[in-house]
Symmetry: D2
Subunit: 409 residues, 4 copies
């Protein structure tokens, strides 16, 4: 169970870590400050494009591109374990995942197109996504049902000649607000009377299709994450051709299952990086500020809190790496990551919790600055808080872990 970097991984890690710390993270603030400078938060300004595309070009030139392709031909030749270490570094900057063309939900969507897409889809969507020229969205969660039980998903997809017609609402469609978002992958209900996990299907819908309507951006603790966004979308009689359905009717869960595992663990990996950053900020603040004749770190339980954070983060990282290692082993030995599901769920429960605690501790040490726009902590906290919901709330993952421990019957 080697949880360390391979030689190739170590090389990439050094390059990624250096680029994140020296070139990308220092641009985060400028990019954010430029949101809305065109008068429309959902348009990229020239300055934003310049920052982002400049960084992307440099990353690509250095071969730091599409590093997430751990199990795909033509990928960087690294394992999921290796990638975990890279993703942690990417988590230290808001821009970094996209700079390396490794951001959600595009990575998952690219994986779907690679595994299940038609040749036409690969030409039209996968190619441009791999080159970072377009973005994509994944439409799963719905406002009217408890999406934690994905069998509740109710967007209707009905036969219409040799095509399909979709009707319904989706929300928390991350990235769908981005002006470059060109395509949606949509989970929908094709057979309400079918077997529980055979009722749903996955359909590819160009973002410009008539009937696709972006209702509004959702906020995460007041933050809209423009220009990417988390959108509330309505589909009204959205028509797509028959071949837009991946694998065929009733196979939505099969595809979702394969898609979500890596996505979940990538979130965890990046969250570890966020936690490390929060801890660094806490320590720096605790050393810099004085009260009652000492620096804050010397007061009360603060030093213990820093130590607890260190222990918790290290544990969370190991749990994530172990899940990555199980994914690699499962993929290698069985051709699918299914076996690794309980390990992934364990990380999915543990990591956001730990990262939130560390972030909260850092906020407390910062006083008012911690909840304000003057540090990254409030934004980090909001983002991390959503991770306890995204890709399955804690309760669902605890069920998975429980079932692995206590099989039915």
């Amino acid at each position: 169970m080697d949880l360390g970097l391979s030689a190739r991984g170590a090389e990439l890690h050094e390059a990624v870590a250096r680029m994140v710390r020296e070139e990308i993270a220092p641009q985060d603030a400028a990019f954010h400050a430029a949101v809305g400078e065109t008068g429309d938060r959902w348009k990229m300004s020239h300055r934003q494009t310049e920052i982002l595309e400049g960084l992307k070009t440099r990353a690509r030139e250095r071969g730091l591109w599409n590093l997430w392709q751990t199990h795909l031909p033509g990928g960087p030749g690294i394992s999921t374990v290796d990638y975990a270490w890279l993703a942690e570094e990417m988590g230290r900057s808001w821009l970094a995942p996209e700079v390396f063309n490794c951001n959600a939900p595009d990575t998952g969507n690219m994986e779907v197109f690679t595994r299940y897409g038609t040749d036409e889809m690969k030409d039209r969507w996968l190619g441009p996504l791999m080159e970072g020229r377009i973005r994509s969205a994944y439409l799963m969660t719905e406002p009217q049902v408890a999406s934690s039980d994905a069998t509740n998903i109710s967007m209707r997809c009905e036969r219409d000649g040799d095509g399909w017609i979709l009707n319904g609402e989706k929300w928390w469609s991350t990235g769908a607000g981005d002006p470059r978002c060109a395509v949606h992958i949509v989970m929908c209900l094709t057979d309400p009377d079918g077997p529980r996990h055979g009722r749903h299907s996955m359909v590819v819908v160009p973002a410009e299709t008539p009937g696709v309507e972006i209702l509004r951006p959702l906020q995460v603790f007041g933050e809209d994450d423009a220009p990417h966004g988390h959108m509330h979308i309505r589909y009204t009689d959205v028509r797509v051709p028959g071949e837009a359905m991946l694998l065929g009717p009733g196979r939505g869960f099969e595809i979702a299952q394969g898609r979500l595992g890596p996505g979940r663990i990538h979130h965890c990996m990046r969250a570890i990086g966020m936690a490390e950053k929060a801890l660094e900020l806490a320590v720096a603040r605790g050393r810099a500020r004085q009260a009652f004749g000492s620096d804050l770190l010397s007061l009360g339980g603060n030093a213990e809190r820093v130590a607890e954070a260190r222990i918790a983060i290290d544990g969370a990282r190991l749990v994530t790496l172990r899940a990555a290692w199980e994914m690699d082993a499962a993929e290698r030995e069985t051709g699918t990551m299914k076996r690794a599901a309980p390990a992934i769920s364990a990380a999915k429960v543990l990591v956001p919790r730990v990262a939130l605690e560390v972030c909260d501790m850092a906020i407390q040490l910062h006083g008012g600055a911690g909840v304000s726009q003057d540090t990254e902590l409030a934004r980090l906290w909001g983002h991390l808080r959503t991770l306890r919901l995204v890709d399955g709330p804690d309760a669902v993952h605890l069920r998975t872990v429980f079932r692995a421990q206590v099989p039915r019957g």
Copy 2:
């Protein structure tokens, strides 16, 4: 130790509770939606004024006005314990505290003017504040120092003839963004070499004084709380006459001490109301949504979480009421609330923690809706999170509780 309502208190409680639930809370959303409709978030629109002043007029007509004046002549004739129950109800609506002219920081400032103000101050500021015609701000916290140790406060106030000149920066000046905010009460440093608690003074500064500059609004997890706001303010050579200094040089801590006790406990009281509201939302959501064949409340640990929330809120309320009772007893027996400080600190530590936990639980049960603008939960959470910092961070209050348990020497 009677922690229940007096007869007079019960009467007011019923009236306040009914008005909050039936008239005020239903207007919260409309008021918020109107923020910025003038094109300037820091101007009240006609619609906002209409909502707010309409409610204020009705409250005043019903005698539900300045209820916070528990220990002042001309007050409503209720105890702090009574007021605690009323404030809990007010906590259920964003608008309610102001509707009853009971909102921070005005209540504390009115108390300061009542106790320590000159006749001129009473005419110019206290009267209009009592009538709800102007608002005020309290300038304590500073961006460059750890304000948890208030002796760090560094805004300079120097003699200038028979007046004073102030220079420095303040932030988290709540309400200072409000177009109706007419006056600041300012903690400042008059004698850097004086005894530790005799260096600071409290000065009254009209908001329109030359040199007063509002630099920017601060955000609380992305929320600017316009039009009241939490402002970052710079004073550059702000000149006030000699009588603007309350009680005289070096008495800032004495005034602050008296001012902050009630304010802290009012925050706690309202936070209990927020926690109750979050719990109601959680239960309603948990009953309404289905997953895996049950309503959410029947799944996993959710029912236990609701029970834990119930237990925790009830405990937190009792701790708050006990602090209120100690304040009444101390005031009655000693003429000051000083003796109640450890009880107040205990509530200040416990209540926000409990309310945050309940709110977080409610968020989790709501899924994506919980972190979004579609429920009050994210905003509530952000507000409650600041309570762990406002008026002294947890660490400072734990010191107070510890010192009462283990006196020095």
Copy 3:
């Protein structure tokens, strides 16, 4: 909601507190040391009798006797709230509850005899119990079933002519090891096919009845609590006359319900006293011992832990007093304490948890001494740990609290 002492309560409180601290607690160690000095841990030695009866005589002479009779004629004329304050004091000493004839399970059993006993039972059992001449046991829990669901109780009680015959096993029968234990009150199954809460009955069985066999003492974290004990008992064809059944067949739950409420809250009250004692020990140790150049209380998070303990105990006490107050109000207004069940359950969940945390903190501050026989902490901890199980495990009480918050349907 007056949670303070009445005038009469305050008088008794002062007397009880003084006697516990000055006379009883100082004898605890000697009494414990004498366990087994006869060669049999389940016989009282002369020295033990001398200590215990001496204290009882003095308590009785001072009118500090049967103080638990809050709602019974001839009682001390105090409320449950008053008694809560007294019981807290009694919790500070192992001997104290018995010294005041206020120890479990005798108080509950005396209440049962008072309310439901025949005249003969009152003569034979209640009188001597009230005088502290005999002891009693309450046989509820069974080794073979989850007794958290009391409808599982399976000890059979079958008609035999005009009497009853009992067969089965009970355990955790506290006090049944005591040589003075003369009578058992037994929950048993009379009608396995009856309605869920009408299957069980309550029977009075003299401890010396043929067929009653004490199998062994159970240990609580290695402690057998001799000479009272928690016994594992077998009934083999134990025959009692028809009138031994209280109220008649099928009314076991009705009696148990009335019996358990006060018992639960008495446990909580005493546990608060134990927590206070543990906190005192922690503070004393933390001041006395030095490490790294400071006393322990000045190191790391220790002062915060003391403050947290203070806050938690105060909250737990208030929650207990509130339950007591609700019991008084319910009894007064409805003639039964049923309405107070959720408040009792809340205290039952919260108090042992808080007391255990405080105790654990105290143990940690004591180092090795904390887990050893040299302090009372390990024994306290073991006792408090059982409170999370006794009279219903946490899970059952959380259900009660939940159901009060979210009524069915």
Copy 4:
């Protein structure tokens, strides 16, 4: 960072796991039941000797002997990581560590003799210890000082001609009650005025030396762990020759440092095994018992608790394995494990906490049986609780972790 078993380790792991589960653990109860059957709990009965020596013989024959010698010549050729996996298995049985000659404090003492002992010591003590013919004790902690700060250690050791004379008290001397315990390694104060970490020395004292007096056994939550025991010992004018001092005066800390690292991590490894056992018991009980119409695991938050336990144990194991891996790397690269101290401290803080939580959850699911002598849980809990104190309390290890994160200056 390979945290898995090597080929050699896997082979041993299989053999150890099988022997523990099939042969050793099934004898635990019989061995315990035989304690005191000679009439003296501190003498081994024939039956006990038979059980223990029989198992030891078999272990030795199979080459499952002295497996702890990971970094010593003649050892089993495995890494600390390998040993961690083996020790976890050993943690599942009380007898197992000794059966494999891997029990504390003998392993640490054997390591001390190997590294620092004279030839005579190696003949007289190391040989027989390696063969499992004698036992030993390590005398560090003292009753009168806070031993968490080891510089407090006060047992005096003074020059007496060419020998030394020791006077003072030690306690928590584990294994010193064992009739086979032949030798003590003793930390003592030789130079009260020397530099902070140069005042103490380590001396080898035959257990039979005149002046050595075993005062009494200490209990751990009522359990004396006879016949090994945790003894309170007094040294009165105990005289040893000059060569009994290891390395020479003032080098006590140097030796202790090297000795304690592996010992700490061995405790953690075994604690993981205990946690796994507790979890298995919890699941088995939760499936077997019914309440309110379901098995316990299906009720309330129980399934989530099992899942949380699974996640916590896995995280704790990984943190322990990582510490083991750092020990191996440090030893290999620097010849000492010093560099691994923060990782060891992290495991030392985390693992007992996790194991205690799991154990407590299992106790709660067992109801009364959980705190009694009928399951291993109460004893396990007591043992695990001491681990938060043994070899440095949590607070000390948190300091170590903090210092690694925030170096001084």
